[in-house]
Amino acid sequence: MVKSKLAGMVIGATALSLAWTPAALAQTEIHWWHAFTGRLGELLAEQVEKFNASQDEYHVVGSHKGNYSETLNAGIAAFRAGEQPHILMVFEVGTATMMAAGGAIKPVYEVMAEGGAEFNPDGYLGAVKGYYTTTTGEMLSLPYNSSTPVIYVNRDLFTEAGLDPDMDLSTWQQVDAALTALKEGGVDCPLTTAWQSWVHLENFSAYHNVPFATKENGFAGLDTELAFNGPVQVKHIETMGQWAADGRFLYAGRRNEGGANFRGGECALFTESSAGYAGVKAQAEFDFQIRPLPYWDGVEGAPQNTIIGGSSLWVLSGHEAGEYEGVAAFLSFLSTSDIQAKWHQDTGYLPITLAAAAQTKDEGFYEANPGTEIAGMQMTAKAPTPNSKGLRLGNFDQIRGIIDEELEAVWAGDKTAQAALDSAVERGNALLRRFEQANR
């Protein structure tokens, strides 16, 4: 311990590191690179401050490194240069990349066991844990922020169009009828969406218990192939293409551009992440409501459960054992139910531990904020199947880009749903093979 500190001092002195303040000398520094700014960044900083104040052995330093892609990129570049942080925030899409990087990461279960920190992986929601756990049940990264798609309803627009705002919208059949009525009632934008691939293909497949990709959506091997051009998905995309053609569905963009249209009161229905709640609540000047994501009535097994989006924390290799003890202590602190419950209530992200969910319920939060419990219920209603555990696909950021392009072709009326999805599968498979080759 003394030796490592001395070595640290020498390295610090030679590097003339500005961060090497006298206060930091006495403590072991833990670096955490993350992707949050604004309100989320403040809440994250609050967690770090709380941890730093709770003990004096370790000092966690949080650094913002850009958006999710940029943060992952910064982490990878730093690793190549031997300057990697201890903890790196990686979005769910980058999970397969991290899992394949055996030598670059230190699995969380290992960090926790070696650090002797209190940690119970079974305390996490099954659908959350499954995403970041190996097929043999070892948790590789710590779930941090997770959300799932739901549908937001502008009740005022329903009333204006002469519809009952309390009408049942559990199935897409019912939504279809509602969209027609809204359009006839003079609503310019009956439906819009954010994150089209995530909501209408990835989650859609899980929710209807059909595979998004072979080999358990990639969990069971790198030789997985995309499979989202099946009849259930094609029917859904075809229907949405029809809605787009006759003005019942308005496409606003690949990310959450549609949010502006919904929050501005233009759109009646909006499929978006449950984490969009805070933004809608802050800006909507109308009566809104959160409902579970609709499903197609008649599809066997639907509704199954939806899957998550968000990020998890990966521990990178190449640091001193003493520092990993600090990492373990910090991660263990982050998974306590007080921290988790507060995070869930402040952000609209899911309560990812069972204890945090129970605590939030006991505090009466769901009664005071109706609709915030729906995301959690939707994810935990049924035990996940191999089709609804999540996705583990390499190069997935780019594959999503391909899916976006092909879906845009459907919305523009350039391609049929079948042709677009077939093409997306074919082009995506080429990238999966490249990932397989790079990680053989």
């Binding site: 990129n73 990349t97 690949r254 350039d414």
Partner: protein
């Protein structure tokens, strides 16, 4: 009689050229060599392992119809940006050159957009043309035109061309104006006395005398359109819809930094290097002949 000054021996000239050579070697040849070397491998993102694939990366790229289409996209985009930014700049410069009163104010205002960073310019134009909340898109809607660059590839291309050309017009304007002012008044006055009208004078005297400036700007603008418009495309379309605005350099970024596919990214850099090299040779070999110095 040879009037050229020559150095005796080779030591001094070598020493004088050395700094330039060193800079070129360190900042050009070394990275370019690295790119060529890396293009032969498929590494994993963390650099833990790497596989030699020979020309595999190039085969993968050239078999991709979207990559081949991106050459056409790049050609269309670069030509349009060069044409629009130089054409408008020349027109404005000719007008500014004729001004007597308040020409200073006029010039200053025209030069301003150059101070705006490409990414910021992209966001500004994006706001104006945003499908539902953009001012321009709204006025177009009043005129009965449904603007939607999110789904319409041609509109997306038009938008990135406008946004990329906008700031560039200022830069070109500066050079054109300086070029115009360097043309001796006496030549133009002589033509005027001979009865040549403004446009006649422009095409027969001004434009040919301006050709060194025009040629310089052509080279510089093509390079700009190839490499520096990345921020605009990233903020406005991210290469979409359906890769309608994915130019070669944007794909290098997307594959290398978003997709972590460094082998493919390196191979694309090499291809880009060859393309720009060929383009420069063409420019200097064929177009420069028409320039009057």
């Amino acid at each position: 009689m040879d009037k050229r000054v020559t150095f005796r021996g080779w030591l001094l000239p070598a020493a004088l050229v050395l700094p330039q050579l060193a800079v070129t070697a360190v900042f050009f040849f070394y990275p370019a060599g690295q790119a060529v070397w890396q293009s032969l491998f498929i590494p994993d993102p963390f650099g833990l392992k790497s596989q030699f694939v020979g020309t595999g990366n190039f085969e993968f790229l050239l078999n991709d119809p979207f990559y081949r289409a991106s050459f056409v996209t790049t050609a269309v985009f670069s030509s349009l940006v060069t044409l629009v930014s130089m054409g408008v700049a020349l027109w404005l410069a000719v007008l500014a050159d004729r001004l007597i009163k308040s020409s200073g104010t006029y010039r200053t205002l025209l030069i301003w957009p150059y101070a705006v960073a490409p990414a910021v310019a992209g966001v500004l134009w994006l706001f104006m043309f945003s499908t539902r909340v953009g001012l321009v898109a709204w006025y177009l809607g009043l005129l009965g035109y449904e603007w939607n660059h999110v789904l319409n590839g041609e509109e997306a291309m038009a938008l990135v061309v406008i946004a990329s050309s906008w700031g560039r017009i200022s830069y070109n304007f500066l050079f054109f104006l300086a070029g115009l002012q360097a043309i001796p008044r006496s030549v133009i006055e002589a033509a005027a006395i001979d009865g040549a009208r403004f446009w006649k004078r422009f095409w027969t005297i001004v434009f040919p005398l301006l050709s060194p400036t025009t040629f310089f700007l052509l080279v510089v603008n093509v390079v700009y359109a190839f490499f520096e418009t990345f921020g605009v495309i990233h903020t406005i379309t991210s290469g979409g819809p359906q890769q309608a605005t994915t130019i070669l350099v944007y794909k290098v970024y997307a594959d290398g930094f978003v997709g972590q596919d460094q082998g493919s990214s390196a191979a694309q850099s090499v291809i880009l290097l060859v393309v720009v090299g060929l383009l420069t040779i063409i420019q200097f070999k064929y177009i420069e002949r028409k320039v009057h110095y």
